[in-house]
Amino acid sequence: MNSLLSLPFWLLGILKGLAVIAVIFPLAGACSMAERKVSAWMQGRPGPNRATVPWVAWIPGVGVALQRLGVFHLLADGLKFVFKEEPVPGQVNKFYFTLAPALAMIPAFTTVTVVPFGAYLASDGALVPLMLANVDVGLLAVFAVSSMGIYSLILAGWASNSKYSFLGGIRASAQLISYELSLTLAVVPVFLWINAPGAPSTWSLVKVVEFQGQPGFWGGAWFFITMPVSAIIFLIALFAETNRQPFDMPESEADLVGGFHTEYGAFKWSLFFVAEYSNMIVGSAVFILLFLGGWNPLPWVTLADFASWVGLTGHPVILGAVSVLIFIGKIILMIFLFMWVRWTVPRFRYDQVMKIGWQKLLPLAIANLVAYAVGIAFLQK
């Protein structure tokens, strides 16, 4: 570990960047596969189950099971996107048209670096988070960088020089602006609560998780329990921010063909796709860290308690792996929730989206903030 950290700064940066790409790309692919399967099961279909690889198919039982699960469609889809013809329509602005998908990837991958995805206990009992860049601005960095993602949608919509793409881009920008307000206001109570007056203030996501693992009934309760309204507002705004159904206005294939990515195909399109799933993963990770106790296995059960129960206190590497597994398990549940909602709730109309954002969520978020600010002021006096 120490020898790894003593590498030159630039090499470490490149390694971390490659690690993000190597993890998020297949993960996004797996999410797309899971989406196809979940949608199929909810509609009474078996879903994709045909693709197979010869030497795996020969393994009795396992081969057929993997084929039925559609695992190899993941490879087939990925290969298809890489090798198929890359059409660039004649009417587009080529430079910005090519730039937009790359721009979509940047915030999607950058936010991953500041999200802690696990922790282990050092020999002195201190909690050491596992993350690529431990910055104290934490959540602010996520918000600042993820809101850049909208530029790629606007750029794609504009550079495509097609009315459907353009409308998609416009809708995306209006929607993201509307819901970012509620999203940000919903998390303010959390940070009001964890920042004691007078003490050095922090936006660190690690601190939020540590705060949800304190002793006592109120200390051990996840913020989902103590601040349910914040959690629900954040979740709804998260659906809107990640352009997921029922808020997928920018795409809305029924009225806009494909929205901002109507004119895209092949690998460029798949970059948008990966960016969307990556945003979903990071968004659910942030939600879990803020409201669902991060890597703590259960409410009122911290990672340290869990480690002492199963006798992992002296094994930082195994404990770190277990914490990452717990965190990934929660992310999988969140991603499933995203898909579950997508195949349940039909898309809102555009005016309904605006109405929910400005007339319902924003006043609710402000009222929630005021209520918690007053409450916290009394409690922390």
């Binding site: 979940v38 099961w41 909810m42 509609q43 009474g44 279909r45 078996p46 629900i232 579950w340 909602v341 195949w343 349940t344 709730v345």
Partner: protein, 180 residues
């Protein structure tokens, strides 16, 4: 029937909050997540073809192996998309079926034109052409999609005959000869 005034109820609080409605919808989809699949895995599983199904038109033989078509060309004339083309031919005098007089020399059904309407089956006085259960036709060329006579008999096979019309006719003729 008297007029029934349907009450337009205002939305309840739960309905206006929308989230409880979403939750009930989520329950419905969750139930479907675990319910049995209804998809037919097509090439491996085939649908059950109901009686009276109008599949690919075929020519049939009677149980004695006699080709029933007498090339009267009624089907060719009735065929709305003009998919059928028959070249009539004579049955040689030394054949045991010489009294039927005619049989098709060539019988082509262009499956690129056929609309599976079943008029040929309806109009056939000899019950020689039937739309049977074959529903999947494919080929790599236009020529491959034309069913010739041998292919039509191969698809059609043998169907039970209720009348044995020509055998009875021959028997009646022989009887009248002996009687007369």
């Amino acid at each position: 029937m008297p007029i029934v005034q349907v009450q337009r109820k205002p939305l309840s609080l739960a309905e206006r909050l929308y989230l409880p409605q979403v939750a009930s919808g989520l329950l419905t989809t969750l139930r479907h997540l675990f319910s049995p699949r209804v998809t037919l895995q097509y090439p491996e599983e085939r649908p059950a073809i109901p009686p009276g199904y109008r599949g690919v038109p075929t020519l049939v033989m009677d149980p004695n192996g006699r080709e029933k078509c007498v090339s009267c060309q009624l089907c060719e004339f009735v065929c709305p998309p003009k998919a059928i083309r028959i070249t009539p031919g004579a049955i040689p005098a030394e054949s045991p079926e010489a009294h039927v007089e005619k049989a098709p020399q060539a019988f082509d059904i262009d499956m690129l034109r056929c609309i599976y309407c079943g008029l040929c089956e309806e109009v056939c006085p000899e019950e020689a052409i039937f739309l049977q259960k074959q529903y999947s036709m494919s080929g790599y060329s236009r020529e491959e999609m034309v069913n010739h006579k041998d292919r039509l008999y191969e698809l059609g096979g043998t169907l039970p005959d209720l009348h044995y019309k020509w055998d009875r006719k021959k028997a009646a003729e022989a009887e009248s000869h002996t009687a007369g």
